[in-house]
Amino acid sequence: MDNSITNVRLPNGLQVMLKEIHTAPIISHWVWYRVGSRNEIPGITGISHWVEHMQFKGTPQFPSTVLDKAISREGGFWNAFTYLDWTTFFETMPSEKIDLALRLEADRMRNSTFDADEVASERTVIISERQGNENEPLFRLGEELQALAFRVHAYHHEIIGDLADLQTIQRDDLYNHYRRYYTPSNAVLAAAGDFESGAMLERIQELFGSIPGGEPPPKPGRPEPPQSGERRLTLEGPGETTYIQIAHHVPAGSDPNFFPLTVLDSLLTGPSSLNMFGGGISNKTSRLYRALVDGELAISVYGGLQATIDPYLHAITIVLRPDRTAEQVLAKLDDEIKRLQDAPPPVEELKRAVKQARALFAYGSESITNQAFWLGFSEMFASYDWFTSYLDRLGAVTPEDVQRAAQVYLLPQNRLVGIYNPTGNGEMG
């Protein structure tokens, strides 16, 4: 795929990334803000996600009743996501309609009203969203494990936030968070699709160029100190099914060790796709599937890395067979990790991991929305070069690199283990 792009910074600090793709009459337009749950402290956990919701509640120019119909009327689809490190808004539209998306995003970068009644109504919506998540054992287990992994760093809490904060955050807290982080100098605008870059850049300058750049937002401090001993938790809840999550602290997305770890993860749990659109492939030949599922210890196993700004976690999730115990599964997992630490994996296994990554890239490149996603996403934790050099860097990983990554990161003292113990179908957790 052709990766040539336009990458410029406007005088107000807004970074603009454009990639022309003329295969379909479609443009996908994204605005990324460098703010997420990483930027939150106790008392305002979940505020970034709530601000994202409020961005759909209107401005004087696009009141909420107009806003929620404007894009759909033009046949576009749009959504927003809040993550650990970032918040993003996108519209994918028929090419000739894209101006609406540009005007809308320029407007709500600056002019959202945050009406008090809308804040009140959204509070119960978000609490409902959280309660829906709490119905899922794996959400509850993941939330506990994250809290256990990060004693100091803000990755401690779930993106949706703690109920206590969702009940007490006020309109002005939300508005101040919005004004502090939703500024051109803290944003990346990325667009891919059927446009001419010169004309597109000119229009972006017209619409976004006059928005004041804004003060640089505060940088979160409080790095997580190294962990020096396994941490384990158990959680009880309804059902008949036992779930286990095992996590290890791993480096940030921009760290050179991220690539050996990506290969390591692929060997252990199967290839992960970082595509937001494009899908993945099965993992039935991965080492852990063979050991645990073919070995009749587990129903399923999957895992993956997250490309984050600060060091985060490699996590493995296992659904147990009803006739097995967590200890049996963990013992087998230890054997498989030890195998990777003791000897470098065969070259063929690495080659396969790289071919799988190449295929996942090809599937992802079918979607213009996904290509636009990558422009901005890669800038959030590294740079677009990270994306364009990804396959080459994976290809350069040696068996010894993978062994070393297993020796350095998959250590018990760097590990978190969470076990969801089911209490049956009639009892409370």
Partner: protein, 445 residues
């Protein structure tokens, strides 16, 4: 030897007019459709923008043929197909597939068993080879069948804890009482336990065959070459004893509202599913109902229902409506997830919206908005090979005609507010709803 159903190979040269303009919707001159002598229909459309290929299609066998005592049989059979065949064992199948970064899956639905996969274009042959082996020469290895059974049973245990799934399952039991659609396709623990390896083999022998089968290939490959590759692996398949599903019995609409609640202790939120049996995809009511459904619970932030339940009342994170369509009378339903204390309030708000929806025509502007949305989003749904393959499957499954997507804008714009009202009144009534709720116990204070 080249099969004779290719009339003119020169049509398929790479720089020929038959190649689609990338900006055009699929239509008769860029979709190739052939019927193999054994009844398999093959459709192909090229796309050289990415070095990948998508495979899709179905066989005419599904859960509708399950005996009551063995509910889940069609699904269990479909899931067994890639667990071992006469040429490769389970690990051999997935070693070939995953080494190529390819994927393939077979999954049973109500009326059909669908398959889908993708690969880099150099591996299309492998994908088709594995499809051939899975569909035609599966061996149902004993150990794999038992491992799969344990996985299916755990899936059912997880389903029993899922408020959304349990509400949906209960909804089907209410609305489709006495009809095959009342039955969950993945069965119940006791019916999955009852299925033997012999049952799987018998089901496969009776129902799997080329008649009624569709194979779609979309991606960086010449249509002629794609069809040739399909014919090479499936062209000689025959099953003279292949059984077809019996006709669906008729379904009477509910004479009154019927409601059932499922209590799942330890949960935090309740899921509501309410609605009726809707029009089949082929019904003349389907398109007007589909536009109406958009207005009712899809458009913008989930239509009128999203507006009253989420935006104005703040009751739910999600509240929307959906229209199933399909070969039979699929559901026309509204779903919402709410705090247990708000179930009654949400049900009443939704009921009021249904009443308004059948008592007065939608606004002309609302209809125009949804029409514009349907027409505008069509090219977006055709962005990927997978999206185009799905669109081609629909053309064949519902016999829509190869020019359907070219006519789509015109036929969508032709629908009037009166058409929407008439279609809505044929199905929806606020006092004749199936209502299912699944969630934690709730005691009114």
């Amino acid at each position: 030897m080249m099969p004779q159903f290719f009339t003119d190979q020169s049509l398929f040269s790479k720089h020929n007019a038959r190649y689609p303009n990338p900006h055009s919707l699929p239509g008769p001159e860029d979709i190739t459709r052939v019927e193999l002598p054994n009844g398999i229909v093959v459709m192909a459309r090229p796309n050289f923008n990415s070095p990948s290929v998508a495979l899709s299609g179905y066989l005419t066998v599904g859960g509708i043929s399950d005996p009551d005592s063995m509910l889940g049989l069609a699904g269990f059979t479909a899931s067994s197909l890639m667990r071992g065949n006469a040429r490769r064992d389970f690990q051999g199948i997935y070693d070939a597939l995953e080494s190529a970064g390819a994927s393939l899956g077979v999954d049973s639905g109500t009326h059909t068993t669908s398959f889908g996969g993708k690969a880099l274009v150099e591996d299309l042959g492998l994908l088709l080879e594995l499809l051939h082996e899975s569909l035609r020469i599966p061996t149902f290895p004993e150990d794999q069948v038992e491992r799969l059974r344990t996985q299916l049973l755990t899936g059912l245990a997880i389903r029993a804890q899922d408020t959304g799934e349990m509400a949906s399952l209960t909804f089907d039991q209410i609305v489709y009482a006495g009809h095959p659609y009342s039955r969950p396709e993945d069965g119940y623990p006791e019916t999955v336990q009852a299925i033997t390896r012999q049952d799987l083999m018998d089901f496969h022998r009776r129902y799997y065959g080329p008649r009624g089968m569709l194979v779609v290939v979309v991606g960086a490959v010449d249509p002629a070459q794609a069809i040739d590759q399909v014919a090479a692996v499936l062209g000689d398949w025959s099953n003279p004893d292949q059984l077809f599903q019996s006709e669906l019995p008729s379904l009477a609409p509910l004479p009154e509202t019927r409601r059932q609640s499922i209590t799942i202790p330890g949960k935090f939120q309740a899921d509501i599913v309410l609605g009726v049996a809707g029009p089949p995809r082929r019904s003349p009511d389907y398109i007007p109902a589909s536009l109406g459904n958009s207005i009712l619970g899809q458009f913008g932030m989930m239509g009128r229902i999203g507006d009253v339940v989420r935006e104005r009342s703040g009751l739910a994170y999600y509240a929307s409506s959906s229209l199933g369509g399909g070969l039979g009378p699929g559901p026309w339903s509204i779903s919402a997830g709410v705090a247990p204390a708000n179930v009654e309030k949400a049900v009443e708000l939704i009921r009021q919206e249904i009443a308004r929806f059948i008592n007065e025509p939608v606004e002309a502007e609302e209809l125009a908005d949804s029409q514009a949305n349907f027409i505008g989003r069509l090219p977006l749904s055709l962005e990927s090979n997978h999206g185009v393959a799905g669109a081609l499957v629909n053309l064949e499954r519902y016999d829509l005609g190869l020019d359907y997507y070219r006519r789509y804008a015109e036929s969508t714009r032709a629908i009037t507010v009166e058409d929407v009202l008439a279609a809505a009144r044929n199905y929806l009534h606020p006092d004749r709803l199936g209502i299912a709720v699944a969630g934690p116990p709730w005691v009114e204070s």
